[in-house]
């Protein structure tokens, strides 16, 4: 593994110091981005609109020329050999670019033909993918009659027709209804278990959390952090919290708050809401889950009643906000 060439080969995508500045622009759309995606990984680029996600995908899929830096795909330098790179990738763009002059099935078979797949094979694969993605019954229609969710599924089917090594999904579930979203998430995970490397962009925290093995958070053309979802969440100082709902009369509130604060390991206690005599406290600590016993005890000894106790994990959204100091949406 010490041979550097072998190491590059083991990665599906290798991006180094990538910069893209568009003509007449005062700032870099992508500003010195480096990352690596292993084979068989689902990698997410998470960030707000304009963060540089789509530009990064554009460079990796040969439609955008980098200003500087390099990118390679399955060991192929994209700038030096874009044709070989195109052979190995498939792209599902944000907006439909399906060939509306063709029938649905033909969209798949022609795509495969463009990639040199033999006739018999492309017919078999088209039938199989149409069935898998639930489009089999409407394969002889034109796309005009397709809903957004169906078009999205068809684009995924099209992308898989030439058995690519790496699949790029640009905001795959944007504008989809919840049902189509779930369906797509399942398909994406399934494809990945079959060994497909996937790079997806999203501004949906749940989607990134749910699908991606690793997530790079992007903002203003830079990658701020790049790690697994679990590791990213640990970045929030005193990230976990315990929420306790307790029933306490007005007289007992002060001693209750004081008792909670004195528990060893607690860094902060906030009163979240009060509903009559039912109060919710948020207790922050480095390891909140070890405090369940002491907190319950403290509530009881202050003469109050525990109604509910729960551990709150930080969300990716909180990670993002703490990194960028602004909301994503």
């Amino acid at each position: 593994m010490s041979d550097p060439e072998q190491m590059i080969d083991a990665s599906a995508i290798h991006v180094s110091q990538l910069v893209k500045r568009y003509k007449n622009s005062k700032s870099n759309a992508v500003d010195g981005v480096s990352f690596e995606v292993s084979r068989g990984e689902i990698f997410g680029l998470l960030g707000p609109n304009g963060a540089g996600k789509t530009t990064t995908i554009g460079v990796l899929t040969t439609s955008i020329l980098p200003t500087s830096g390099s990118a390679s795909l399955m060991g192929v330098d994209i700038a030096l050999d874009p044709i070989e790179a195109k052979r190995r990738i498939a792209v599902v763009p944000q907006q439909s670019n399906l060939d509306r002059s063709l029938k649905v099935r033909e969209i798949l078979t022609f795509h495969a033909a463009y990639h040199g797949v033999a006739r018999k094979q492309r017919e078999t694969r088209a039938s199989q993918l149409l069935d898998e993605l639930g489009l089999g019954k409407r394969q002889n229609e034109k796309v005009n009659r397709y809903s957004g969710g169906m078009a999205q599924r068809l684009m995924i089917a099209r992308a898989l027709m030439h058995s690519p090594d790496v699949l790029f999904l640009d905001e795959p579930t944007n504008n989809l209804d919840p049902q189509s979203r779930l369906f797509l998430w399942e398909r994406i995970q399934e494809l990945n278990t079959r060994g497909l490397t996937i790079l997806l962009t999203t501004h949906d925290m749940d989607e990134a959390d749910m699908l991606c093995h690793r997530i790079a958070i992007m903002d203003h053309g830079k990658i701020l952090v790049n790690d697994t979802s679990a590791e990213l969440k640990k970045m929030i100082p005193d990230g976990t919290a315990l929420e306790v709902r307790a029933y306490a009369t007005t007289a007992r509130r002060e001693p209750l708050a004081a008792a909670l604060k004195t528990i060893a390991g607690v860094t902060k206690v906030d009163t979240m809401e009060a509903d009559g005599e039912l109060l919710t406290y948020r207790i922050q600590a480095h390891c909140a889950d070890t405090l369940i016993g002491p907190v319950a005890q403290a509530v009881l000894s202050a003469g109050a009643e525990v109604r509910d106790l729960s551990i709150k994990q930080p969300s990716l959204e909180e990670v993002f906000i703490s990194l960028t100091e602004r909301h994503l949406r």
Partner: protein, 262 residues
């Protein structure tokens, strides 16, 4: 090898799509020339407003115009929509072949449409003009080359327009480009006859359609009274058309690249 396969598949795609819309395509390409032939070749001579030879001189112009416009329309409109917002061509741009091959295929296919449209003018002309349909047959090779070359010129102009025009300007641009092209292209009059209006004769030389129409006149109009009909010299015609194709293709290809690879 893979690139060649991709190229053929893309050609096949265009053939399938055009084949499916063959009748509308023919109607679009032939409606106008049909009426031109009828009015200028039949009606005007019939009521004494035009010479009977007029149809013979105009027919090559109609062949040129039809081929050029059919080729142009086959390329420009889809390209404007594709590059403007539909991006349907992306799937072909992501195929494993050089991007300029995709451009070349567009041009080739546009030229094929132009050639078909031009060719149909011959039976159509015979049917409409009857006895007035007079075409010399001893320059058939020149005729075929001119038909193909004319369609190619139309196709590359279509490429250039397709990469320049924004979807929101499409109808304006068609008027601004088509109308002058139509009327300064020596379609309805032979170039030599313009000698009295020298400045206009010179202007027509800037229009590739002039060379196409004159070349087709050279190939189609029979000798009158033992004297060949005077046209622009064939070598100048071929040179002008050849240069137009090459230069326009290079410019169009460059602009196309700029539109799809930023």
């Amino acid at each position: 090898m893979l690139a060649a396969k991709a190229f053929l598949a893309i050609l096949r795609r265009d053939a399938v799509v055009t084949g499916r819309e063959f009748v509308p395509f023919l109607l679009q390409a032939l409606m106008q020339p049909m009426f031109f032939l009828f009015i200028f070749g039949k009606v005007l001579p019939g009521i004494g407003l035009a010479d009977h030879n007029f149809a013979t001189l105009m027919l090559p112009g109609i062949v040129a115009l039809t081929g050029m416009i059919a080729a142009m329309q086959g390329v420009t409109l889809p390209l404007v929509l594709d590059l403007g917002y539909a991006h349907e061509i992306d799937d072909r741009l992501l195929a494993p072949l050089p991007v300029w091959w995709v451009v070349f295929e567009k041009v080739l296919f546009g030229a094929l449409r132009g050639t078909i449209a031009s060719s149909v003018i011959f039976p159509l002309g015979r049917w409409i003009l009857g006895d007035g349909f007079v075409v010399r047959t001893d320059r058939i090779l020149v005729l075929i080359s001119m038909v193909v070359l004319t369609a190619l010129v139309g196709s590359v102009i279509g490429l250039l327009m397709g990469t320049i025009i924004k979807p929101e300007h499409i109808s304006l641009m068609f008027t601004l480009i088509f109308t002058p092209l139509l009327f300064t292209g020596c379609t309805y009059y032979p170039w030599g006859a313009l000698a009295n209006i020298r400045w206009f004769q010179i202007i027509t030389l800037l229009n590739p359609l002039t060379y196409a129409a004159e070349g087709l006149r050279y190939a189609m109009v029979p000798a009158i009274g033992g004297r060949p009909f005077p046209t622009l010299a064939l070598h100048w015609i071929l040179l002008a058309l050849g240069v137009s194709v090459a230069v326009t293709f290079l410019a169009g290809n460059r602009l196309f690249h700029r539109r799809v690879i930023t």
